[in-house]
């Protein structure tokens, strides 16, 4: 093949690539990230709050509450989506109540994306926070009390920093789960381009429509983000710890 032709071929490919990228509707990525951030914030505070409460329960009540709070992690996301739909549907009391009194619509809206992602990401945050709290020496709490520190100061200044690495990795995992959430999101929020279509929803619908280029592109994006997330966990949770190798 003559050199000239090869160069032309390459230029066409580049043009195609440029054209492909310029034609992409980036809203799914933007919606995914926005949903991920907001859902992570919600899951963070809710997870930490519940983990703190559960640490104060007696063993029996603790096992039951823990089971309930972990449900979204073990159930198929579609089950969670179905339950959320039952709760928020405009035809049902609670959904009607929200719409009439607060003008809040959850089904087929971005709010639905956030709620679905929060519910699915919550157990990861909660379980990691709880495991981290369990590792904290309970004498630190007692010491703080005898020193006259208030309960909230003990919690935020002593326990949270001591549980730092576990809390951080919980947050990152919750974020990863939230941006990748598909089942519950597609049931509750649907698939409206520019409104509720997240990257994972986009992958499913592009594949279903036979647009493998587009689906493949989103797959690459998700793989990159997921890798960054896992690397971030390793860096965060490995900090301050001696890395012991098994040899």
């Amino acid at each position: 093949m003559p050199l000239k032709r090869q160069k032309r071929q390459l230029r066409i490919q580049q043009n195609n690539m440029g054209e492909f990228l310029s034609e992409i509707n980036w809203t799914p990525l933007w919606i995914s990230m926005k949903t991920g951030v907001v859902a992570t914030i919600i899951a963070f505070f809710l997870g930490v709050f519940c983990a703190r409460k559960i640490m104060k329960l007696k063993p029996g009540a603790r096992a039951i509450m823990d089971g309930i709070l972990t449900m979204p992690l073990v159930l198929p996301p579609t089950v969670a989506g179905f339950c959320l739909l039952l709760l928020f549907s405009l035809k049902r009391p609670f959904g009607k109540f929200l719409l009439q009194n607060f003008d809040i619509k959850v089904v087929q809206t971005w709010t639905g994306c956030v709620i679905a992602a929060s519910v699915i990401a919550f157990p990861l945050m909660y379980r990691n926070a709880r495991a981290a709290f369990e590792q904290v020496d309970v004498n630190l709490i007692y010491a703080g009390r005898t020193l006259g520190m208030s309960e909230s100061r003990i919690f935020w200044k002593v326990i949270m920093p001591a549980a730092g690495p576990g809390i951080a990795s919980g947050t990152v995992l919750a974020f990863a789960r939230a941006i990748g959430e598909y089942g519950a999101t597609s049931m509750l929020a649907g698939n409206i381009l520019g409104k509720t279509r997240t990257v994972s929803v986009a992958i499913a619908s592009e594949t279903a429509a036979g647009n493998f280029d587009m689906a493949g592109f989103w797959v690459v994006v998700i793989i990159l983000i997921s890798f960054l997330v896992v690397a971030a966990i390793n860096i965060v949770s490995g900090r301050g710890m001696q890395t012991r190798r098994w040899i």
């Binding site: 630190l140 005898t146 020193l147």
Partner: protein
């Protein structure tokens, strides 16, 4: 009279029932692990809540189940030194100490600096607890506790995690740092040596019950109860049968003893510390013919497990004797007879 308590708490298979009346100075609570001594200390601090009873610190009722008073630990002004010091791992020395500060925030920095100096922690202000030696950690914990000017301080097995040499140094340090402290001090320990060294008053706990309270030396001299004698480290016991007003027969050792004081009917056992028996040349009153069963060579003393030679099935007992030098052979020091001085025979009841 600074601290008074009378508390009960029930657990599965264990119940705590302690009555204490603190005298001035350092009080010790001596007990085996699981005797409830830490639980008692935690109840005073407010970390544990007893089922019923009353705790009074310097005339202030901090807990009273009848009047439904239960002050939070924050309000009790009780300093607590934890066995593992419980320093906040993510805070520097300076910040750790500042956590114990109570009062006007403007004076905090100055006072923290003062306590850092007092507890010889200069130059370590920005260090994290994990970067400190055991001794430094203990000083930080002491400084953090003392900066809040507690009315009572509680020491929970403060030396049990340390090895020999460091332990001696830290014990002396602690005594120096705490000698100016005007409030009361209660120390919990399972070591009779620490109890003897630190505490002028002692309470012995066994299975959640108080067995004896009194002046430390007196308790070691006359433990009165079998369990008390065991806690103070006595290893040789025998059940006895009273033979006369000043005579008992030790059933396990098959030996007759003459006792100085009059023997009451409650006495069930006799005990003697291994250090108090003396070698003797001939048979006589309170003398036992020696048959050695076992030797143990300790660093500075020989330890023998001996038995009454004239009674085959008798229970052996421990005899300790100081070494003269390291060359000495264990066998060289074995006497034909051992004398049990009447003043060291402890009459015990159950």
């Amino acid at each position: 009279m600074a601290i008074e308590l009378d508390i009960q708490k029930n657990f599965k298979g264990f119940s705590l029932n302690v009555k204490l009346k603190g005298q001035d100075g350092t009080m010790g609570i001596l007990g085996a692990s699981g005797s409830g001594k830490s639980m008692t200390l935690r109840s005073i601090a407010g970390i544990e809540t007893p089922d019923s009873g009353k705790i009074v610190i310097n005339g202030r009722t901090v807990f009273d189940s009848e009047q439904k008073i239960n002050l939070r630990p924050q309000e009790r002004r009780v300093g607590y030194l934890f066995q593992n010091y419980a320093l906040f791992p993510t805070m520097t020395v300076e910040k750790n100490i500042a956590c114990g500060f109570r009062g006007d925030k403007n004076e905090m920095a100055e006072k923290v600096a003062d306590y850092i100096k007092r507890y010889h922690l200069e130059g370590l202000e920005k260090h994290l607890p994990s970067q400190l030696s055991g001794g430094q950690q203990q000083r930080v914990a002491l400084a953090r506790m003392m900066i809040g000017e507690p009315e009572v301080i509680l020491l929970d097995e403060p030396f049990s995690a340390l090895d020999g040499y460091l332990k001696d140094i830290l014990q002396r340090d602690m005594q120096n740092f705490l000698k100016d402290y005007k409030g009361d001090m209660i120390m919990v320990t399972h070591s009779r040596d620490e109890a003897y060294k630190f505490c002028s008053q002692l309470t012995l706990l066994h299975n959640g019950k108080e067995i004896l309270t009194g002046e430390t030396r007196q308790i070691f001299e006359k433990p009165q109860y079998l369990e008390a004698a065991k806690l103070t480290g006595c290893k040789n016991f025998s059940a006895v049968q009273k033979m006369g007003p000043h005579q008992v027969y030790a059933l396990d050792w098959e030996l007759m003893f003459h006792i100085q004081e009059e023997v009451s009917d409650e006495i069930t056992h006799v005990g003697i510390r291994g250090h108090w028996m003396r070698p003797a040349n001939e048979s006589g009153e309170n003398v036992m013919a020696v048959q050695v069963e076992e030797y143990i060579e300790n660093t500075f003393e020989h330890q023998y497990l001996i038995r009454n030679k004239e009674a085959d099935g008798s229970t052996p007992l421990w005899w300790m004797c100081q070494k003269k030098d390291f060359q000495e052979k264990t066998e060289d020091r074995v006497p034909a007879y051992l004398y049990f001085p009447p003043e060291h025979l402890m009459l015990l009841k159950k």
